[in-house]
């Protein structure tokens, strides 16, 4: 148990340890009982049968190849959309943040409005705008590689996440010690050079964990396109498998596990980078740790 978590209770003496042991026994019995009730219910409704699980876990099953072909394609499409949307969000978000930091009070107002607008809208509404509304108002992306749905999805996700990044970048730059900027200007760098060469690289280092955590959000949000149009990402593929094989519980458990595996790995990577940075002195001096829990989105 880490030190910070010890705030609620002291190091345990013999009596508290005995109580904990009793609590452990009670909790184990309660959790096992819960697991038994669920498993019993599933077994009674024949949810453990190989007829339902076979296509997903038995390589000998006739549908196994097709099912995992669909999942593979789904994962690939999910990652493509997420990575492009993420890259665009970082680039545009940085531009918005830099503009906000370097413009005067009056110039900032439209940018603040933009940030508040896109942050206040549900991602699924923005994805709908990207996929369905843009073609109606004349922005036809059908000829782009990947087509209207992919680019509409990317535009929706980017609109939402770029303003989140703008805020992250702004906070990152603001968290740097004032002397960094003053020293850079004193050596004769222009404002633009100071931002590009001195401030942004340091801010990005501090923000790296936040960026990776947000990638998890974007990955999850790609699944929203299922409600809007046909783009064969992971959830849509699960949907068509469920419709064909009529095994919703089994299919969605596997879909969820695939998402969890990818996202958990990314979260751990973010934690690892953060821990590494905490050992160096810059991150501590700039209070970079405060920036991490950004995760915002569906």
């Amino acid at each position: 148990m880490s030190r910070e978590e010890a705030v609620l209770f002291d190091a345990q003496g013999p009596r508290a340890r005995r109580r904990t042991t009793i609590g452990t026994a009670v909790a184990v019995v309660a959790l096992l009982g819960l697991a038994y009730v669920v498993a019993r219910r599933l077994a009674d409704r024949d949810q453990f049968s190989m007829e339902k699980w076979g296509p997903l876990i038995n390589p000998g099953n006739e549908n196994f190849g097709a099912v995992w072909g669909l999942f593979g394609e789904g994962i690939r499409n999910t990652i493509i959309a997420a990575v492009i949307a993420m890259t665009l969000s970082i680039v545009l978000g940085t531009l918005i943040a830099v503009a906000r930091l370097s413009l005067g009070r009056a110039g900032r107002i439209p940018l603040v409005g933009l940030v508040e607008l896109f942050r206040g809208l549900p991602v699924v509404v923005l994805v709908y705008f990207g996929v369905r509304v843009l073609p109606d108002v004349g922005l036809d992306l059908r000829d782009w590689p990947g087509g209207q749905v992919l680019w509409g999805l990317i535009i929706g996700l980017t609109a939402y996440n770029m303003v989140i990044f703008a805020e992250v970048v702004r906070a990152g730059v603001a968290s740097l010690p004032r002397g960094q900027r003053e020293a850079a200007l004193a050596t004769g760098l222009t404002n633009g050079q100071t931002m590009r060469i001195v401030l942004l690289p340091q801010a990005f280092r501090v923000m790296l964990p936040a960026i990776i955590s947000q990638l998890v959000v974007v990955l999850k949000d790609t699944s929203l396109v299922t409600f809007v149009a046909n783009y064969d990402e992971l959830l849509s593929q699960g949907e068509s498998i469920r419709r064909n094989l009529d095994n919703p519980i089994q299919t969605f458990v596997v879909v969820a596990l695939l998402y969890i595996a990818i996202n958990y790995a990314l979260s751990r990577l973010a934690q690892w980078i953060q821990a590494r940075q905490a050992r160096g002195s810059t991150a501590k001096a700039t209070g970079g740790g405060d920036l991490v829990p950004v995760r915002d989105g569906a």
Binding site: F9, A27, Q47, G120, V228, L235, P248, F252, N263
Partner: protein, 216 residues
Amino acid sequence: MGPVLENLDLFVQGFLTSLSIILWALVGSLLLGVLIAACRVSPVPPLRAFGSFWVTTFRNTPLSVVLFACAFGLPEIGINRSFFFFGVLGLVLYTSAFVCEAVRSGINSVPAGQAEAARSIGLNFGQALRYVVLPQALRTVIPPLGSVVIAMFKNSAVVGAFGVGGDLWSTGQTLVSARGFETLPIFTGVAIGFLLITLPAGALLQVIERKAAIAR
């Protein structure tokens, strides 16, 4: 904006349905989230493990997958309810993981020295919790919890997208697909509806945050 004004009653109805999804999900996810957080900070190891399992599962699964699993999976084991019920249930399960993490981070941000100081002046566990730790913890929880709640307001649109009838999103969908209205005005109306919920909520949160801030 013609199509929106002509169907203003439908939009108002949709707005109210969205609000009722939000209210049910708010109560449910706060209760469940605090319960899971209590598991995660408790001294009993199996409960802590259960809490981490819950958070890892629901934080890394998209809300849409949770909703599909509820709506299509639960009837398979004999639980037949309305889409509204499944929608709110899915939103509660998903949001509870984020509520748990917000609450836990707030509790953990109280410096250990505060509890030690409380004990050293002779307060017992209950008193230390009541007078020293919890008042500080609850205030530090407000900003992260507020962000989680606002994210949940926006996520209620996903519940509508997934087939709960009559909320803001599905009202827009129906007007576009069944009655052939233009997408732009209709979805601008939907967007304004959501902004009417999220922008005041964000402003309110900032006011509360400023009032509850503790200098540390």
